[in-house]
């Protein structure tokens, strides 16, 4: 059975621009929104929106540092997301393996009844 998927999480990583932001945070650690805006092909305003969505999904946290706000990836949440996604993929692998087994058994059965005695 599919575990109830976390909508906020999946919609947060479902957007290519947000994955870009996430990639940068993962590779550079704690950075400001302005720094991010300098490294992506979209506006500072868009960066802020993406950070807000990632924040709501629990993937990114923020902290005040002097006059700046710094953002970083929440490692625990990212690990959890990776595991959940792996579970979903594994579930389809199991279903496909079952389909394979059923179809191959049905085919073997059909062949046997087609040519009795061989």
């Amino acid at each position: 059975m599919t575990a109830p998927a976390d909508d906020k999480l999946w919609s947060a990583i479902g957007d290519p621009s947000r994955r870009r932001v996430l990639d940068l945070l993962v590779s550079h650690g704690e950075v400001s929104a302005s720094w991010l805006a300098g490294h992506v092909p979209f506006s500072r305003q868009a960066v802020s929106k993406h950070l807000a969505v990632l924040g709501q999904a629990g993937l990114v946290s923020r902290r005040k540092h002097g006059r700046e706000v710094l953002y970083q990836v929440e490692a625990g949440r990212l690990d959890q997301a990776a595991r959940a996604m792996g579970d979903l993929a594994a579930q389809w692998d199991r279903r496909l393996a079952t389909i394979k087994r059923l179809a191959e058994a049905a085919h073997a059965e059909a062949k046997k009844s087609e040519s009795p005695g061989t």
Binding site: S27, A89, D93, L96, T98, K100
Partner: protein, 148 residues
Amino acid sequence: MSGLVIEGEVLIEAPVDVVWRTITEPDQMSQWFADRVDLVAEPGAHGYMQFGDQGGPVVVETVDPPARFSFRWNHPRGEEPVTGNSMLVEFTLTPEGDERTRLRVSESGHELLARPGAEKQRYADEHRGGWAEYLDRLASVLAKRRPG
């Protein structure tokens, strides 16, 4: 749920029509998907699937025997599955000789489906490795960066 894509593929030692029946006939589906399946493989048909003590409606989208079969579901919410609230499961069957079939499956949410064709293709290409791989990669980069 949006844009989520799971892709899988398996090579089956059986003709394409046998595989087609396995994925579309309710008594077969109840062996690999849900515990109980009430469904007629006709485009637009509404059915029901039971998983343990939970269940939900399912709507058939594409029926193109023996090549393509898709249905939409939104378990566990139980609302009527339409574009925007549900997941689309798509099967593609490709015969490889008389007794071998390549079966591909994808499960995707609404954001991806709303994209124009070319963009959808680019998006799919970008993530051929799948979401699990993407997240695993991020998690491992992060783990390497963390001290200790």
